[in-house]
Symmetry: C2
Amino acid sequence: MQQLKNDLLLRTLRKEKVERPPVWMMRQAGRYLPDYMKLRAKYDFFTRVQTPELAAEITLQPVDQVGVDAAIIFSDILVVPQAMGLEVLMEEGKGPHLPGVIRTETDIEKLITDDVEENLSYVMKALKIAKQGLENRIPLIGFAGAPWTILCYMVEGKGSKTWDKAKQFCFLQPGLAHQLLQKITDVTIRYLKAQVNAGADVVQVFDSWSGCLGPADFKAYAQPYLLQIADALAQHAPVILFPKGSWYALKELARSKASGLGIDWCIEPQVARDLTGNAIALQGNFDPARLLTSIPEIKKSVKEMIDAFGVQNYIANLGHGITPNVPVDHARAFVDAVKEYQHRI
Amino acid sequence: MQQLKNDLLLRTLRKEKVERPPVWMMRQAGRYLPDYMKLRAKYDFFTRVQTPELAAEITLQPVDQVGVDAAIIFSDILVVPQAMGLEVLMEEGKGPHLPGVIRTETDIEKLITDDVEENLSYVMKALKIAKQGLENRIPLIGFAGAPWTILCYMVEGKGSKTWDKAKQFCFLQPGLAHQLLQKITDVTIRYLKAQVNAGADVVQVFDSWSGCLGPADFKAYAQPYLLQIADALAQHAPVILFPKGSWYALKELARSKASGLGIDWCIEPQVARDLTGNAIALQGNFDPARLLTSIPEIKKSVKEMIDAFGVQNYIANLGHGITPNVPVDHARAFVDAVKEYQHRI
């Protein structure tokens, strides 16, 4: 691997000392950027995702326009169910729809687990193009959805406030649920390894809906699969786990093979540090709604956040994806505030 | 006040010893009950809410049909914005819509804060009729939305995943936000006092969206108003606060004048006990999705929940409202399991 000019993220994930925290934003390649909106007007969602040149172009947009310390490949967590043989429809602004929901053992048996590298080769191509475009300026992050979150969509067929069908499936047929979760895990591990081979320097696993599980159910249906992924990937690239909302699991996940843990804004930095010790880097946890305030207010809040987390062992980020209504200069103010922090040490 | 035949809930809230925990379910008077659905087919939402005889009838339905230890008046948290002069539209199955959203100081000044007892007299009438119908069998719970949650609807005009408009309003115009929150608080205190005068033995304050606030913002925009309500009501009736999702606030709220704290299922009972000590009764925290399993599974889970919380200082309940897809005999199994627990002590 070529030496990166800015390796703040990698050094943080390796527990090396840094002069300031690295900063990136979840969904940084997305709908708040006018240049993204131009491509969105021309190409539908899966065209953008499945055309390597487009995905790579979108990946690079926030690098120059907002100045983040890491790029994250533009893609979607639902490419995995797609690669496993399920149809995924995405109506702009409406969220995903999977008509062929999983109900029975036969449904699970029919899922494709081979050829994931082949079926998702467009992601690997996009990573390679993006990696080239980055010219070793900053690291490139690959990602996948966590098995529990992917199960949620596979069983419910669409978004849900409560995910009670997904839970019911697990509670009533735990054997089947674990069979499904294991299949998703196996595919995800192969997929993430392929992403690393294609140039991803770091991988993040998004457990977007883990926070709707109580602690015992998280331990049953989410945690084992997150740990399997961390175990399998750790020797290939640093892993960041983001079990959104599952603050109750931080203590145990800090002992995993992952190098970083994402947290949302509903936990005080000091509490998260107390739960995780200095065993693992923490990533977060700016409330995306705070990007809707004003530039001075954003900068003040970012400073307070870094004061609370400390410079070391910390990745500045949002606690969830940036929303489409954030002005670009507010996103830039967030990034700038982290970069300016070094002068204050 | 007449002596109640079953005063388990009141004794628990007074820290008196009980032979088993009291049990009720949030949204117990609602869409999982066939008798409710019959009334729903005949009368629209606000007719059901605003016709005292209908509201009282719905309130009593789960008492005989499910066997709960407390009735809660059938109403809606949005009657408060309505009484304050805002139009609230409720399309069946679609959630609320408030066309006249709050944006400016003038909008706030126009809100009606007088005559709440008059404007919501139908609730007080419903409480009186329900109280009579209960014939002192079990206590009657009155309720209101918490000021932060009501502000959310007043500012956004409808439900939201992120409530970012409501947050933006608070972050950019904190002075206005506090002015609005104080107005809602004043009205809510008068409204809850009127409910107690009309026969409510206990009042619960639902902060349904407090969990989308980070700890510092909860302390700024939610907590002070919850405390004001608890302070003002405590001498009139026991108060239960339910700041859904705000586990980070449990420690401080345990020191309030409230007698009980509701918690959702995303916290282990022992952790909630550790945070609150024995200073306050805890209420919850069964995952409503678990009511979709099977009767034996429900009974087993309820037993484990009571084992974890203990019999004293505990109110068995769900961690959120019961969902419409729960079979009535599953709801009954939940209640029965709590009642049967006494034999196992």
